[in-house]
């Protein structure tokens, strides 16, 4: 065990000093750290993303997903309310829901046919009152004190905002708007402003890296203009674009807000060519950008909500990106692309074309997964190492530019506070 400078938890890696700009590799590989992260970030005191209301439009519609490493089901009940229940039968603990989505009137665990309402209330227990034999003797059955009310599915606390569904295993979690904070709520509401969302589909990838690396990737405005040649070449994300970084008071959530240069105004594709430096697209429809009224000024807003989700607006492409950890060394990254009910056919096509930029094959996303994998390889092989997030200094705070790693430092300052707290 390494000597720890943290007071509360001996499993925690040793941080050099009190700041958060030197990050021990161990935070990405240590299984004890990972278990504690699941408890403290995914299962307690935080809201986690489970999906969009548009995924369960009708009563009985359900979708299976995960919070952290626990399986949950989002379902619309008969009254139209969205419930989230844990996918564990109260009897023998079976993960009973195997379909990814569908429509049902109730949930039944196939093992012993325990039956639950859509809200998770136990309704049916076969042979509960025993079985009467041929000579009239009642055999077996549950004890008389058995009460179905005590054996429902674990029901989570749910919050819906703008068509996005969050849930928490922690019934004492603070209200969602407080969790997001007044700094982040306006950026969330800008994208999810009450319009009905229109589901376009999913992309799923498994990235062999620690889940936090994806939060860091979208809290890192340093790399997009460097790693993602496509962004630079076509002016979508440049260090000299008008930008600002905002975070909640804890430093856990953040928004990277950027406005494309002249090329973005009026969807003027012709002007984009000036950024290509000799590189020409054969088909410019993929960057046929048309500003939408709800954008206001920014053309890009990437919002990280810790720990489980990223909300993407990259010009006309909008999506949620869910982070589902899978041990300390892997996570599943689930992209849900959507549009809005009032989109024209042309706008839907535009969103779908621009989706080529994102996802596991995307021009500006495929390489994010690659760099995360290669970072994790180093963390695995050299646990005593540290990584550096020093761009812009060592402090944590909002900026009016992108030339800083302050959001990563903010996240780890928060991480240290939560992880270091006494159990």
């Amino acid at each position: 065990m390494e000597q720890s400078t943290n007071s509360g938890n001996r499993a925690l890696p040793s941080w050099p000093g009190d700041d958060s700009h030197l990050i021990p590799f161990d935070v990405y590989t240590n299984d004890q750290v990972h278990s504690l992260e699941l408890e403290r970030f995914f299962y307690n005191k935080h809201w986690c993303y489970v999906g969009l209301e548009a995924e369960v439009p009708n009563p009985g519609d359900f979708k299976r997903t995960s919070i952290g490493e626990r399986s949950v089901i989002m379902v619309k009940d008969k009254s139209g309310q969205i419930c989230v229940v844990e996918n564990i039968c109260a009897h023998r603990g079976m993960r009973f829901c195997r379909e990814r989505s569908g429509n049902t009137t109730s949930f039944t665990c196939p093992y012993h046919q325990w039956n639950y309402s859509l809200q998770g209330d136990l309704r049916g227990v076969p042979m509960r009152k025993g079985v009467t034999s041929a000579d009239g003797v009642v055999q077996g059955g549950m004890p008389p004190e058995f009460d179905v009310a005590d054996h429902g599915l674990n029901r989570l606390t749910v919050a819906c905002r703008g068509g996005v569904v969050f849930a928490s295993f922690d019934s004492s979690v603070e209200p969602l708007d407080q969790f997001l904070g007044p700094e982040i709520v306006p950026w969330f509401d800008r994208l999810f402003n009450g319009r009905t969302l229109h589901l376009l589909g999913y992309n799923r990838q498994r990235i062999p890296g620690n889940w936090k690396l994806m939060q860091e990737n979208i809290k890192d405005p340093y790399h997009p203009g460097l790693l993602h040649t496509w962004f630079v070449t076509f002016g979508l994300w440049r260090a000299d674009n008008k930008s600002m970084l905002r975070m909640d008071r804890h430093g856990r959530h953040a928004a990277m807000i950027s406005t494309r240069g002249n090329a973005g105004v009026g969807g003027d594709v012709a002007k984009v060519q000036s950024f290509k430096r000799g590189m020409e697209l054969h088909d410019e429809r993929i960057i046929d950008i048309v500003p939408e009224a709800w954008w206001g000024e920014p053309s890009v807003v990437m919002t990280t909500v810790f720990p489980s989700v990223i909300f993407q607006q990259q010009v006309n492409s909008v999506s949620t990106r869910q982070i589902i950890p899978c041990g300390s060394g892997n996570f599943d990254f689930v992209w849900t692309h959507f549009g809005f009910d009032d989109d024209s056919e042309e706008m839907t096509e535009r969103r779908l074309r621009q989706a080529n930029l994102f996802g596991p094959a995307g021009y500006v996303s495929a390489d994010d997964g690659e760099v995360i994998e290669f970072s994790q390889q180093s963390f695995d092989s050299k646990p005593a190492g540290t990584s550096l997030a020093l761009l812009g200094g060592t402090d944590v705070g909002d900026t009016e530019h992108m030339v800083t790693e302050t959001l990563i430092r903010g996240m780890y300052r928060y991480w240290r506070t939560v992880m270091d707290a006494a159990p």
């Binding site: 990814r100 989505s101 589901l199 376009l200 589909g201 999913y202 992309n203 799923r204 990838q205 498994r206 990235i207 062999p208 790693l227 993602h228 040649t229 496509w230 070449t233 590189m279 697209l281 054969h282 088909d283 429809r285 993929i286 599943d332 692309h337 839907t348 779908l352 074309r353 989706a355 080529n356 996802g359 596991p360 094959a361 021009y363 495929a366 390489d367 997964g369 690659e370 760099v371 994998e373 290669f374």
Partner: protein, 163 residues
């Protein structure tokens, strides 16, 4: 099925099998210029999760319309996308011909793609079936549509090269 089969002459069948064999050979050899040439100018090339296809959701992992977008993908993987080097190897089953008209052959194949990264064991990268339309052109048979509908639930990190 038999009536469809009889609609193709042995010469046509041979040409079609050659097209499929060449397709696999050029993507496995990363001959991307030739890959583009195997399509018509107004082609559709898509790689889509089966989940989306089955539910009628339009999103694809890759969705390219026309040769221009294919050429841009070639440019993208060569000049703009940083990625781990890897080989891919296609194994494609026999075509199931579903429709033959004077203009086009509609057919489908099962496929698997293996990925080999340097210094690592070979793994199954992507499996599924295709929905293809092959047309006769002045240059021979070409794909006017290739849709790879993949069963694979998770892309193992990233998909760089066209499959």
């Amino acid at each position: 099925m038999v009536s469809h089969m009889t609609a193709l002459s042995p010469t046509e069948w041979f040409a079609m099998m050659q097209l499929y064999a060449e397709y696999d050979a050029v993507v496995d050899a990363a001959h991307w210029e030739r890959w583009v040439q195997l399509f018509t100018d107004d082609c559709i090339y898509r790689v889509q999760p089966r989940e989306n296809f089955d539910r009628g959701l339009p999103l694809a992992t890759l969705s390219l319309e026309g040769k221009g977008m294919l050429l841009d993908r070639v440019f993208g993987i060569r000049e703009t996308l940083f990625h781990d080097p890897y080989y891919q190897r296609h194994v494609t089953g026999p075509p199931l011909v579903t429709k033959v008209t004077a203009e086009a052959i509609e057919l489908s194949v099962n496929y698997s793609v293996f990925r080999t990264k340097l210094s690592q064991p070979t793994t199954v990268f992507n499996v599924g079936r295709t929905i293809d339309v092959v047309v006769n052109t002045a240059n021979g048979l070409r794909f006017s549509r290739r849709e790879f509908i993949y069963d694979s639930e998770l892309i193992p990190n990233s998909m760089i090269y066209p499959i």
